[in-house]
């Protein structure tokens, strides 16, 4: 199951800071995300793409989780070596395309990261 099958998301940025929001479709989905997407597990995944720690904020009334990475975008929009500007708008797919095992709430990435990245 993809995270995107049970939640919608959006990425934002301010200066160096990348923020990722997930809103679960219902309470069950929220509780699953709460169990699977710990700050540690998300950081292990995201650090393969962007540096620095992850802080998680819980919003039970909105059934939403926020993941904030204060050091992810060093130097901000203009300093990026990605093509064009504002690549970080797409960063939410790093979370939406994570796979959750609904039984043990373990995470995995959809791509072939275990083989050393997309190209090798």
């Amino acid at each position: 199951m993809r995270v995107g099958d049970i939640a919608a998301g959006r990425a934002g940025d301010k200066g160096d800071v990348l923020d990722l929001t997930l809103v679960a479709r219902d309470e069950l989905a929220y509780n699953m995300l709460l169990g699977a997407l710990t700050a540690d597990s998300v950081q292990r995944m995201l650090n393969q793409v962007v540096p620095g720690p992850v802080m998680r904020y819980e919003l039970p009334r909105l059934q939403a989780l926020k993941f904030v990475m204060p050091e992810a975008l060093q130097g901000g929009v203009y300093a990026s070596l990605r093509p064009g500007l504002h690549w970080q708008k797409a960063a939410i797919w790093l979370l939406l395309d994570l796979r959750i095992d609904p039984i043990d709430l373990a995470l995995s990435w959809q791509s072939n990261l275990s083989q050393g990245g997309a190209l090798s």
Binding site: A8, R61, S111, L119
Partner: protein, 444 residues
């Protein structure tokens, strides 16, 4: 809630960034269903060229799209008595105020009162700003995020148009609400939260939104919906509760999901969202669907004003980022593109790994290791971006990409190239009592 009958203010969102569509604001004004429209037109990215323009010419520095945006909007807004509030002033609000009055004259609008608010430029006080990290390079400018009070005063004194430079986006939308509100901090927190919801225009009404499990064939918005997306309106009540909607019949998705995503967008600690007026706490906010594309927001709270005001500093470092691409197509495109990428890295071996990125657009250029390489690639582009100390080095990057068309793997094509200045945005904080604002009036 049952006692609430009438909103104190109906505020529309006319634009969510400098290059946003022109027509949504015109549609809102023409409807007569809003008392005011705020247009958020100033990002970090757009303030930098404005600052540079003003450094070259003291008359310049307002948003270059100002006339194109306001020419169709002013006449209808005047007709429906809809106030306009915008940060189109960019790095020169006074020049923007003059330009708007001049435009009013051209359009034969009599007695349009324009208030231009300045004071956000705190570049001369950079020594007393508490910067998040040391400023390395040339400080182009430092702009503080102003709050509602000056804008609200101008509206109270009869301004038809209020134009500013850097203000908190949420304040642009909350100012016309503040004018009609009692002195109630929790209600004001609601108005500012509405401002935060509305500041990105179509992003509240179904733009940049995939529903859960989407996109599916049943995706709520069609191409023609996206092409004519309705922009948001908020009916704000005296207690800070608000109903979020758009014009009747306009294409949109407004539900608790789109509202929650926008509430939390670019917010860090949701219990401590510092605006220049108040620190907002979103943890008790709830959204309730009360009609089709109509959601009631309540529960915004505040712990009071922030201790300091945020400043954005823009520092220019020498050199450029060169950003170039070359395409490969047909059978074996992935193989040839990867060969070209590897050859390019060998040619550019003088660049340390930290200052260069070479990857494949269509495979891994955006999410890097997070990308999924599945699928047949009939077209791909090799991309290189590199930090370059000067123009000559940037030219070298571009030349090496072009040279692949003759000396690289077969079929390198459709080369494109751009160069960007190296601007760093650094946050800082300044004490509110060091900021001096003033209002300059003009009229048509």
């Amino acid at each position: 809630m049952g006692k609430i009958v009438k909103p104190i203010c109906r505020i529309g969102s006319g634009a969510g960034f400098a290059g946003d569509r022109i027509d949504p604001a015109v549609a809102l004004a023409a409807s007569g269903e809003v008392d005011a429209i705020a247009l958020e037109c100033l990002a970090e990215r757009t303030l930098v060229p404005a600052i540079k323009a003003r450094l070259e010419s003291p008359e310049a520095g307002a948003d270059p799209r100002l006339r194109r945006r306001l020419r169709p909007l002013l006449p209808v807004a005047v007709q429906t008595k809809c106030k306009i509030i915008s940060n189109l002033g960019a790095a020169n609000p006074i020049a923007a105020g003059g330009a708007i009055s001049a435009l009013g004259k051209e359009l034969n609008i009599k007695g349009l009162r324009v208030a231009a608010i300045e004071g956000d430029d705190v570049t001369s006080q950079s020594q007393v700003i508490d910067w998040k990290r040391p400023l390395k390079g040339r400080l182009l400018g430092a702009h503080a995020y102003l709050g509602c009070s000056q804008m609200a005063e101008a509206l109270e004194e009869g301004a038809d148009v209020v134009v500013t430079g850097r203000v908190a986006d949420s304040a642009l939308f909350a100012a016309p609400v503040r004018v009609r509100m009692q002195n109630d901090q929790q209600a004001f927190a609601g108005a500012l939260t509405v401002g935060h919801l509305l500041e990105c225009g179509g992003q509240l009404t179904g733009g940049n939104f995939d529903p859960v499990g989407g996109p599916l064939p049943g995706n709520p918005l069609t191409a023609s919906d996206f092409a004519a997306l309705g922009y948001p309106i908020a009916h704000v009540y005296a207690d800070g509760t608000a109903d979020i909607m758009t014009l009747t019949g306009a294409a949109a998705v407004i539900d608790s999901m789109t509202c929650a995503l926008q509430l939390l967008y670019e917010v860090h600690d949701p219990t401590y969202y510092a605006t220049p007026d108040l620190v907002l706490d979103f943890s008790a906010v709830v959204f309730e669907q009360i009609g089709r594309n109509c959601v009631r927001m309540q529960g915004a709270q505040t712990s009071g004003p922030p201790p300091t005001i945020k400043v954005a500093g823009f520092v220019e470092q020498p050199g450029y980022i060169a950003d170039c691409e070359i395409g490969f197509v047909g059978t074996g495109a992935l193989f040839r593109a990867q060969l070209a990428a590897d050859a390019l890295r060998l040619r550019l071996s003088a660049w340390p790994d930290d200052d260069i990125a070479i990857d494949l657009v269509g495979v891994n250029s955006i999410l890097r290791a997070g990308a999924s390489p599945e699928g047949n690639h009939t077209e791909l582009r090799v991309h290189v971006s590199a930090r370059c100390p000067d123009m000559e080095a940037a030219q070298q990057i571009e030349d090496e990409v072009y040279a692949l068309t003759l000396s690289g793997p077969a079929g390198g094509c459709s080369v494109r190239s751009e160069r960007r200045n190296r601007i760093e945005v650094i946050d800082g904080y300044i004490s509110a009592d060091l900021i001096r604002t003033s209002t300059h009036w003009s009229s048509s």
